[in-house]
């Protein structure tokens, strides 16, 4: 259990990369990139977890009454989620244009930019 979350993070990163490299559809590749990115969420939050801790949000608990997990990694992950969503949007926009200009979204059929 002490390394399981980290292994899952690594697995997601590799799976996403494999998906991107073997993809036959650019939209699928964007989805794989999202999987790849979820590895960073898992790693960061796993790093900040503390056994028996609870969220560092004092709306319904008294300060100091329970051990807390690390709020910093949560803030980092939040930023990361936003980055992920925006990158997805921009890449999808580019895929739409690729489809328009090349008439295909299969990377194997894109015949430009060689050599």
């Amino acid at each position: 259990m002490s390394v399981l979350p980290y292994l899952v993070a690594g697995w997601l990163f590799l799976a996403g990369c494999v998906g991107m490299a073997t993809s036959r559809n650019l939209i699928h590749a964007v989805g794989s990139l999202a999987v790849c990115q979820s590895s960073t969420y898992v790693l960061l939050l796993a790093v900040g977890y503390r056994r028996g801790g609870t969220a560092p949000v004092h709306s319904d608990i008294r300060p100091g009454s329970r051990p807390l997990v690390d709020p910093v990694v949560q803030a980092l992950t939040l930023t990361d989620v936003v980055v992920g969503a925006t990158v997805t949007a921009l890449l999808l926009a580019l895929v739409v244009q690729v489809a328009k200009r090349h008439g295909t979204v299969d990377p194997d059929e894109l015949r430009e930019l060689r050599g």
Partner: protein, 285 residues
């Protein structure tokens, strides 16, 4: 590379990276450990500035500069999407068709719409108290607005959505965040310093500038998501290139996305999608 070669190259790379990650991960401190020096300092600092949600305090106070960069990313990528999905010279717009949606779905959506918007506002407003914040609430509210498209039709959405106003709100949210930061400079300290009175712990106005920055982000995110989706919707529904489906005579096989195989009629919508159909308008480019 041929697919086969690529697979081999990939296999080598993945094996190498997997080995690297495995070796590295084994040296990490065990999952769930109790040593979080930065985290503990951050909680202390959050309580000292009377912000109940330490994550909000990190986001909008202690590491507010990260959030400044993050909202710049959002702002920039929305602008980028607007640029990339613009209507080019060889494209024109067609009017979306009305879509027939089953009655219960439409009723549900019209009732749910205000609930979603309220939830969004609630999530933004309580950002520094309970889980939530500008980003989460902004997305919820913006998504809620699109129930109009999903459960009514695109024309209903267009009636309430002025892309121009939302662009303005997007820029205003961005500028608001940046300008709130200069309060610190005016007070003679560092940029983004919390110079307002801190208020009472656990109330909506606690935490000085935190709720204001949070609200600025909320406005920006909600507006940005609307603008972003507007571009995608325009592309998927209204904009056609010459030679694309919008050009052909109506009635050949129905609107795109609905296919021709389906028998018409029934209880559901008559013609599910706002596909482009031939109109006199067009050639706007």
């Amino acid at each position: 590379m041929s697919p086969r070669t690529r697979l081999w190259v990939l296999a080598c790379g993945v094996a190498g990276v997997a080995a690297l990650l495995a070796v590295t991960v084994w040296r990490l401190p065990p999952f769930g450990g109790a040593r979080h020096p930065y985290g503990e300092r951050a909680v202390e600092a959050a309580l000292a500035s009377r912000v109940a949600n330490a994550v909000a305090s990190v986001n909008f106070d202690q590491r507010a500069f990260d959030t400044l960069g993050e909202q710049a990313i959002l702002f920039g990528s929305v602008l980028g999407t607007v640029v990339v999905l613009r209507q080019t010279r060889d494209e024109r717009r067609v009017e979306p068709e009305p879509a027939g949606v089953a009655g219960p779905v439409r009723r549900y959506a019209l009732i749910a719409l205000p609930v979603v918007l309220l939830t969004g506002v609630y999530v933004v407003a309580h950002g520094q108290l309970s889980p939530g914040g500008g980003f989460q609430g902004g997305v919820v509210a913006a998504t809620g607005l699109h129930l109009l498209y999903v459960a009514v039709d695109y024309r209903a959405l267009k009636r309430v959505r002025s892309v121009h106003l939302f662009t303005l709100a997007d820029a205003a949210g961005e500028a608001g965040y940046l300008l709130l930061g200069t309060g610190g400079l005016l007070a003679g300290t560092a940029y983004l310093t919390d110079v307002l009175p801190l208020g009472t712990f656990g109330t909506l106005a606690s935490g000085g500038t935190v709720p204001l920055l949070n609200a600025a982000i909320g406005v920006e995110v909600a507006a940005a998501v609307v603008v972003l989706l507007a571009r995608f919707l325009d592309q998927a529904i209204e904009i056609v290139t010459s030679g694309e489906e919008g050009d052909r005579a109506p009635g050949t096989d129905g609107a795109p996305g609905t296919g021709g195989a389906r028998p018409a009629g029934g209880t559901g919508r008559a013609d599910g999608a706002d596909g482009p159909h031939r109109t006199g308008r067009g050639g706007a480019g």
